[in-house]
């Protein structure tokens, strides 16, 4: 009697899947609460979402040993669909932490008291939390179906988030984002079907063994499947040549959404990529290793070259610069994954994780300062940052620190060492050319990071100084406590990492498989 039930159902360990489940439940709670709360109370939605994210992060504590799995097939012990191993837990921590910071950035934008420009609270929080659910699910997925669904759950709400602001470029950007993304997903699904045909399984562990044992006549099919599957993930990480949606999307999207996409969306895509390559296709390293290495080199070069062209006076220049810089950074993040084909998956995963943590803290911090400064100068021109040091020394110091972390120059010690760790994997893997390309890119990227940093410390132009009082003290002096909190959290993380780099660089020597 029970055997039939055992075979048809899978055991579910709720504690293991708690982080994504809590976020999903919070998403629904917020959406429903939005219907029943009176307008005056709607600003409570934000704190509810924040509490949900914090709770989900707390649910990671019992999983910290990274040895729990669930949704396992009854007959195959190695075939589980969800594994909360150390890598997954750490990526979930990054995702939830990044989402928390994003939520802090969004509190003000969704506050109904900020007038017509406010984003609709219920929808906004629901979409954000849904996307976070997908991103938290992604690194723990162990079969292709779950992986694809997680990837779609991460991105589908993002289209709507991008289009959420009334007027402006939002809808058009969202449409471009959507169309390119759907095309990428279709290609991925095609690849998945090929892989399934060649290996006979959707579970990553079984694919790995199935592909190597597959009929040699299916080899071409398998290789095509592997390549096509990776395309979708390359898109999510904004790897060149799948990067065209990035700058317009970031510019059109509300600022917190851009911050979210650049950090959480990207990390999730990369985590998916590394899970896929390291667990699903370990024997095809000769195929995806060079491809990813080429993608990494292209991505960082194109991203940095485009960021170089940012002009001081262009409207939205600050956000555009961050958008292109995030493309460049995605290139650095791809390096350890490509190196994973030659040096073993542990080192690749650890280095990726270390760099991603540094990047998350520094990039979210930079976005937070941009949001903070944007309240005074909504045009977001780079020139608006001239003289920030004289007006708001702490914000200027924080932004300078974040930018130097991204550039990898002291005093941004952790940025430097994270880059050293990435270069080290590349040298270790024998990817000498990629290492040189990355080294040159790091030097080139310095130009725009340092230029922005230098602007902060320039004396303000007399015109801006004269118009400052005309802004009206009400707007500039409005307490940005949540923004300041976000900046403080990001700065604390980046400073802690800089003082004790071992905190995150320790992952580079850990075992994850």
């Amino acid at each position: 009697m029970t055997t039939l039930a055992d075979r048809l159902t899978q055991s579910v360990d709720w504690a293991v899947i708690a982080p994504p489940v809590i976020t999903a439940v919070t998403a629904v709670v917020v959406l429903v609460a939005d219907l029943f709360l009176p307008a005056a109370r709607k600003r409570l939605l934000g704190p509810i979402a924040l509490a949900g994210l914090a709770l989900a992060a707390l649910a990671l504590v019992p999983l910290r040993h990274g040895d729990r799995v669930t949704f396992c097939l009854a007959d195959g012990p190695g075939a589980c669909s969800y594994a909360a191993d150390r890598f997954a837990v750490l990526v979930q921590l990054l995702v939830l932490g990044g989402a928390l910071l994003t939520a802090l950035l969004s509190l003000q934008e969704t506050d109904p008291r900020s007038g017509d420009s406010a984003l609709p609270g219920g929808e906004y929080w629901f979409l954000l939390l849904s996307s976070v659910t997908g991103a938290a699910l992604l690194p723990a997925s162990r079969d292709l179906a779950t992986l694809i669904i997680a990837l779609e759950v991460t991105t589908l709400p993002a289209y709507a988030l991008v289009a959420l602001r009334k007027g402006g470029d939002g809808p058009e950007a969202a449409l471009k984002f959507f169309l390119t993304s759907v095309a990428a997903t279709a290609v991925t699904l095609l690849g998945v079907s090929f892989v399934y045909a060649a290996s006979g399984s959707l579970h990553l562990g079984e694919i790995a063994s199935g592909l190597s044992a597959a009929d040699p006549r299916l080899a071409t099919l398998a290789e095509a499947g592997v390549a096509l599957t990776l395309v979708g993930f390359a898109f999510k990480t904004a790897a060149v040549p799948f990067h065209f949606w990035v700058p317009e999307t970031y510019l059109g999207a509300p600022l917190p959404v851009a911050a979210y996409l650049s950090v959480v969306g990207k990390t999730a895509g990369l985590a998916g990529l590394v899970v896929l390559t390291a667990r699903g296709f370990p024997d095809h390293g000769h195929l995806w290793g060079p491809v990813l290495a080429a993608l990494a080199g292209l991505t960082m070069t194109v991203g940095n070259a485009a960021a170089l062209r940012a002009t001081e006076d262009a409207p939205g220049g600050a956000v555009r610069l961050l958008a292109w810089s995030s493309v460049g950074q995605a290139g650095y993040l791809l390096v350890p994954i490509a190196a994973g084909a030659y040096v073993g998956a542990d080192e690749a995963m650890g280095t990726l994780l270390a760099y991603a943590l540094m990047y998350a803290a520094a990039n979210l911090g930079a976005f937070a300062v941009v949001a903070y400064a944007g309240r005074r100068s909504p045009g977001q021109r780079l020139a608006d940052y001239r003289g920030l040091w004289a007006r708001q020394p702490l914000a200027a110091l924080a932004l300078g620190f974040f930018l130097l972390c991204l550039a990898g120059l002291p005093p941004g010690v952790i940025g430097l060492f994270a880059k050293v760790a990435v270069l080290r994997t590349a040298v270790d893997a024998g990817l000498g050319v990629l290492a040189v390309v990355m080294a040159v890119n790091v030097a080139v990227a310095l130009y725009y990071y340092l230029r922005w940093t230098a602007l902060l410390f320039r004396p303000a132009p007399p015109a801006a100084a004269a118009e400052a009082p005309a802004d009206g003290p009400g707007d500039a002096a409005r307490p940005g406590r949540s923004l300041a909190g976000a900046i403080g959290l990001a700065a604390a993380a980046a400073l802690a990492f800089s003082g004790a780099p071992q905190l995150i660089l320790g992952f580079t020597t850990d075992a994850f498989l």
């Binding site: 650890g350 040091w389 020394p393 110091l397 130097l404 120059l409 002291p410 005093p411 010690v413 430097l416 060492f417 050293v420 760790a421 270069l423 080290r424 040298v427 270790d428 290492a435 040189v436 080294a439 040159v440 790091v442 030097a443 310095l446 130009y447 340092l450 940093t453 230098a454 410390f457 320039r458 004396p459 780099p501 071992q502 660089l505 320790g506 992952f507 580079t508 020597t509």
Partner: protein, 530 residues
């Protein structure tokens, strides 16, 4: 020598490296009530700079006093694990090679802080100025004190941001592009250097300079050594700078404020040559032996090129800038340092280290003096200063003119002054290079370098003639200069006096420095019999 136990010297060194960094952070904070003096917060922070850099100077002097000259190898050593996963350790220590450079850096920074206290920087915002100068000091001291490759890279990079800001924010005409060129050249060089360091560290399994130096390249294949020396050499050659990678230097020097020029010439350039002696020479001797003849060739090409450039600048009507001229002369002097290193002999390397320190003293002094000249006359353009007849500083400001002439002849390597010994030893080394190097080639280098000293003497004496001597012709462009310029002031004596005195001391008593460097050099160079 003052006998201090190892724990004390160890803490002296740690304090000397950490104190400027803390001081830099503290400079950004408002002064506590007890430290507020007359003259407002701007004076307070400038005084803070003097206090901190003075304390650091005292620490390094104490370290030098406690240094045991009879013991080769590293003293005041600290070695704790920092980032085990990368293999980076906080490994600090001094030996005869780094000690003179530590003291020199601390001294020059202190003098600069003193100078800035009396003459606040023209760009305003002294808070940030002091913070950057102290951060720069921390970075340079760390570069000379660390014994771990990754930490060396970190310290090497630390100086970039403050130097960039010193030039871009407080510099003169053309500062923006000059600062960019400085930063982009050096960063491009240093990331390439990082690849070389990583290659060594990964192949040898450790980033510890002492362990690597004692292995003398064992465990590193010839190819690895070649690649590593090439990568590291390019990075350090940009910083040194070696001809033809020097083109960032003249612009940076011309645009930098006086303090920036002094620190750039006196301290930053030393990091490049120090790195060659500390890393490339002992750690990858095979690779170094392959590249040494090329290094020597580039070095003498730099000597001749720089002298010719200076001769072109000093000509009447060429519109030459005095700061630019001194910057080019730096390229020439660093050519001698590189030539000394390229000989791979103790004589040559000792000469290189000596020339390194001498260049820091003399060129630091020259930049101070030119800065003071600009302050008095408003220009460093030789034609505007000297015109057809000469600026006649001897007559107008006897002491100032005398000191300038002193620095100029020291720079051309007059026997009895510091500039002489380094160049002599470098050429002596080239006369008898290490075994395995082509002697005819090195003899040629020595001969060309000797010709270079003549050219150096020529342009330096021309500078003296045009700036210090002369008889102003009426109707000359120099007519705008007042008849009597203020002579050396008290604070200027305080800032320049120590440099002039040390130049004389090192010239008359070279053993003071050579006794310090020689045991350390012999310890580092492989296969050299006592």
């Amino acid at each position: 020598m003052i006998p201090l136990n190892d724990t004390v010297t160890q803490w002296l060194l740690i304090a000397a490296v950490v104190l400027p960094l803390l001081g830099a952070a503290a400079a950004l904070l408002p002064a506590p009530p007890g430290l507020r003096g007359p003259g407002g917060p701007e004076r307070d922070v400038l005084r803070h700079g003097v206090t901190v850099s003075g304390a650091v100077l005292l620490l390094t002097l104490a370290l030098a006093a406690a240094f045991d000259r009879d013991r080769p190898g590293v003293q005041a050593e600290t070695d704790v694990s920092w980032i085990p996963s990368l293999g980076a350790r906080i490994h600090l220590g001094v030996d005869g090679i780094s000690l003179p450079l530590l003291v020199l850096s601390a001294l020059l920074t202190f003098l600069c802080a003193l100078y800035a206290y009396v003459r606040p920087p023209a760009g305003g915002d002294p808070r940030a100025f002091v913070a950057f100068v102290l951060l720069l000091e921390g970075g340079t001291l760390a570069t000379f004190a660390v014994l771990d490759l990754l930490l060396f890279f970190l310290a090497f990079e630390t100086v970039l941001v403050p130097m960039y800001f010193l030039i871009a924010r407080w510099g003169g005409e053309g500062r923006g592009p000059a600062a960019w060129r400085f930063v982009l050249y050096t960063v491009l060089g240093s990331v390439v250097m990082l690849l070389g360091l990583l290659l060594i560290g990964l192949r040898a399994g450790t980033f510890d300079m002492i362990a690597l130096a004692e292995a003398h390249g064992e465990g590193l294949t010839h190819t690895t050594q070649l690649l590593a020396v090439l990568a590291i050499g390019i990075g350090l050659a940009v910083k040194t700078p070696m001809w033809p990678l020097h083109s960032w230097l003249p612009d940076a020097h011309t645009a930098a404020p006086t303090v920036g020029s002094v620190l750039l010439a006196g301290v930053l350039l030393k990091m490049g040559t120090y790195g060659l002696v500390r890393i490339a020479l002992p750690i990858a001797p095979d690779g170094m032996r392959t590249f040494a003849p090329y290094l020597g060739a580039f070095a003498v090409a730099g000597i001749v090129y720089a002298s010719l450039a200076c001769l072109a600048l000093v000509r009447q009507g060429a519109g030459g800038d005095l700061k630019r001229l001194i910057a080019y002369s730096s390229v020439g002097h660093m050519g001698f340092v590189l030539l000394g290193i390229a000989t791979l002999t103790p004589t040559g390397v000792n000469g290189a280290l000596f020339a390194n320190v001498a260049h820091g003293l003399i060129t630091g002094l020259l930049f101070f003096l030119v800065g003071a000249l600009k302050e008095r006359t408003g220009t460093t353009d030789l034609d505007r200063l000297a015109g057809a007849g000469g600026a006649a500083l001897y007559g107008r400001t006897p002491r100032f003119g005398g000191l300038l002439a002193f620095a100029a002849v020291a720079s051309l390597g007059l026997p009895g002054l510091a500039g002489f010994w380094g160049e002599l030893l470098a050429m002596l080394g080239a006369f008898d290079p290490a075994a395995g190097l082509s002697r005819p080639a090195y003899l040629t280098y020595a001969a060309v370098a000797g010709g270079g000293t003549l050219l150096t003497a020529a342009y330096m004496l021309l500078v003296v003639r045009r700036v210090c001597m002369g008889d102003p012709v009426p109707g000359d462009p120099t007519a705008h200069l007042p008849g009597a310029l203020p002579d050396l002031r008290r604070h200027e004596f305080a800032a320049y006096g120590p440099l002039a005195a040390l130049t004389l001391l090192a010239g008359l008593w070279p053993a003071l420095l050579l006794d310090l460097t020689d045991p350390a050099v012999r310890h580092l160079l492989p296969g050299v019999a006592g």
